[in-house]
């Protein structure tokens, strides 16, 4: 057997630059005006030594090595704010930042915190390092049975892809249980994969681990191809994004809807269930992968406005300009690293905006958000009494179960 060379840290070579042009619309990088809107709108741009705009400038100047030595790319939360704002339509998040993370990761430049989340995702199919056998344990806390497809062995109308944080995180499990209660109440014919479900892999992909993403996608596709269902629904915008936009590129096509879209279709059945609910001002935080990336802005708002006694208020950043909670692009696994670099939490910025509009409740619709924003309410003046609730929790609180 030939001697196996140890992978050396390859620099950001001209090959890397060329490879960006192979990504759909990647060639647009050549049209960059150097207006720096991307660096300006980036929520962590201030903490990056080489923000996206400068990255493009340096690539043009042939300065590539320095980019690898810098750890700026690990500040990227993959929130698509740069992609949204770019006047030339350059897919900055996908064609530049994600590719740069991939290159850094291949070269072994990975922050330690992120390393464990990736290893866990490979070993246990979830980034939290929990036993994959316990993926459906949350269901045991309910007083009715959650159908697990492998056990019930029958076709279902709706396959609910639960997701990592929704399955394991103690705070987010409350949202998961609320959604189960609502599905049950509405008489939806649904099932879950239970311990056969694997991480959707989307955040790992955005953290630069494309190979791991593909491996997880293949595992999910394999199990899903054996199940009979009409559509997938999920409370997780990252899983939604994976099924909607990424899995089809690997040849895995499954119809998917985010739960907010699904519930809007069932509003006629939900509305008669509502009871007297008091009054509350509710601000809605658009998750990056529901809003900016997939342009679903109205469904969550329609649901919130349907709840009795609720006044929906908009924060300064909303819809396409929404802020990131800080959890995207591997952010869930880089809190320590990013705090060291920036001494700032994006979730606190958001809570300040919610305080400014005098919201009683910050409504969310992504499993990364309840713990991040709840922590932030403890740190921000005037937010101590603010509640952070997923929309499905608000709905279930407002109906008689």
């Amino acid at each position: 057997m030939a001697v196996n060379d140890i992978p050396q840290h390859p620099p950001f070579t001209a090959e890397f630059k060329e490879s960006l042009f192979n990504i759909p619309e990647g060639e647009k990088i050549q049209t960059c005006l150097q207006c720096a809107c991307c660096s300006g709108v980036c929520p962590f741009g201030f903490a990056m030594e080489i923000p996206p705009g400068r990255m493009i400038a340096w690539m043009r100047a042939g300065i590539l090595d320095e980019m690898l030595e810098s750890d700026s790319v690990w500040m990227c939360v993959s929130c698509y704010a740069c992609t949204e704002v770019c006047p030339k339509g350059i897919p900055v998040t996908l064609a530049l930042m994600t590719r740069a993370k991939e290159e850094a990761l291949l070269a072994g430049n990975v922050p330690t915190e992120l390393q464990s989340a990736l290893e866990f995702s490979d070993q246990y199919s979830n980034p939290l390092g929990e036993s994959s056998r316990k993926r459906a344990d949350w269901a045991e806390e309910l007083d009715f049975e959650i159908p697990i497809i492998r056990k019930v062995k029958r076709p279902v109308d709706v396959l609910w892809f639960v997701g990592d944080y929704a399955s394991y995180h103690p705070r987010v499990k409350n949202v998961t249980k609320a959604f189960a209660i609502l599905l049950n109440k509405l008489g939806i014919d649904f099932g879950i994969l239970g311990s056969d479900e694997h991480s959707d892999g989307d955040s790992q992909r955005l953290a630069g681990e494309r190979g791991l993403f593909e491996k997880l996608a293949e595992k999910n596709a394999k199990i899903l191809s054996r199940c009979e269902f009409n559509e997938i629904i999920t409370t997780d915008p990252h899983a939604y994004n994976a099924f909607k936009n990424e899995y089809p590129q690997l040849g895995f096509d499954f119809p998917v809807r985010h739960y907010t879209e699904f519930l809007v279709d069932h509003l006629d059945e939900i509305t008669p269930l509502f009871k007297e609910n008091g009054k509350a001002k509710v601000a809605f935080h658009d998750p990056c992968y529901l809003g900016r990336v997939n342009k679903i802005y109205e469904a969550p708002r329609q649901l919130i406005e349907a709840i009795p006694g609720v006044e929906l208020v908009e924060m300064a950043h909303n819809k396409s300009t929404s802020l990131c909670c800080g959890g995207g692009g591997g952010g869930m696994w880089l809190d320590g690293f990013r705090w060291e670099k920036a001494e700032y939490r994006l979730s606190e910025w958001r809570i300040k905006e919610a305080v400014a509009v005098k919201a009683d409740i910050l409504a969310v619709s992504c499993p990364y958000e309840p713990p991040r924003f709840e922590d932030a309410t403890k740190a921000i003046a005037g937010a101590k009494k603010m509640l952070v609730k997923d929309i499905v929790e608000l709905i279930v609180d407002a109906i008689d179960i």
């Binding site: 057997m1 001697v3 196996n4 060379d5 140890i6 992978p7 990761l105 291949l106 072994g108 990975v110 330690t112 390393q115 990736l118 290893e119 490979d122 070993q123 246990y124 390092g129 929990e130 036993s131 056998r133 681990e209 494309r210 190979g211 791991l212 593909e214 491996k215």
Partner: protein, 255 residues
């Protein structure tokens, strides 16, 4: 070229809840999942660091277990040169002595300069595999090593003692070292590289000689830690609990 051999074992993964077999004297293997022994993972990293530093051929030997191929390909993606799966391991865990005998026969033929093994494993807390191997290979053994460098025919290694004492040792090669930790934490290797290795590298299979499973030590009973009933739970709201704690501490004469 320096020849380094690393023995890497898969051990029960403690993320899963351990269950006792109906016999009451062993773990229920049907529920067990295995994972690389953390100390062996450090031994692999140390070998790769030595290869990076001054060149070496690194051979990884692993007793067969579920998932051992993935683990071996991962070491190849990190830089290991030769992957060997030791077959013929039965359901029952072989004794360290018989495993050491089989390994010694294999390793002798490789003429290694350095044999690395994790200093212990959580199913081998006494860590006697490496010293037994050293005895059989007629090589010196030093355990609890964190950091190794090679210089001519000698290794310089740091051995940890309790109480925060560190000894710098010079060891004549060839030698067997029990690794406590590598100089740098085990590296991450992208899954795409591991998958490339699966297509471009092969794993050699070597049949072990007859392995003993009886060591003369008899396990009479295996059981999960039993909760004692000495704890007293303090009930009430924060203020009541605080008052109770204060009075307990006063009664004990601590306040």
């Amino acid at each position: 070229m320096t020849e380094i051999v690393v023995i890497a074992r898969l051990v029960p993964d403690l993320v899963e809840e351990l269950e006792i077999a109906p016999s009451g004297t062993a773990l229920d293997l049907s529920w067990l999942r295995v994972i690389i022994n953390e100390f062996d993972n450090h031994a692999i990293e140390q070998a790769i660091i030595l290869k990076e530093r001054s060149g070496a051929t690194v051979t990884i030997i692993s007793p067969e277990a579920e998932g051992v191929e993935d683990m071996l390909f991962t070491t190849a993606a990190k830089g290991a040169d030769r992957l060997i799966k030791l077959t013929g391991i039965g359901e029952e865990k072989p004794t360290n002595l018989s495993l050491a005998q089989t390994l010694a026969t294999m390793i002798k033929e490789m003429n290694p300069d350095l044999v690395l093994n994790g200093v212990q494993a959580h199913d081998d807390i006494t860590g006697d595999l490496a010293p037994q191997l050293a005895q059989l290979l007629d090589m010196p053994y030093v355990g609890y090593i964190s950091g190794v460098s090679l210089d001519g025919g000698k290794a310089k290694a740091y051995k940890e003692y309790p109480g925060g004492i560190l000894a710098e040792m010079e060891i004549n090669l060839p030698a067997v070292l029990g690794i406590q930790s590598s100089e740098e934490p085990p590296r991450y290797v992208a899954i795409s590289k591991v998958r490339q290795m699966m297509n471009s590298t092969s794993i050699e299979e070597i049949q072990s000689s007859e392995l003993e499973t009886e060591s003369g030590v008899v396990i009479k009973r295996m059981y999960l830690p039993e909760a004692a009933e000495r704890a007293e739970m303090l009930e009430g709201d924060e203020k009541e609990v605080a008052t109770k704690i204060t009075s307990i501490l006063q009664d004990l004469g601590l306040l």
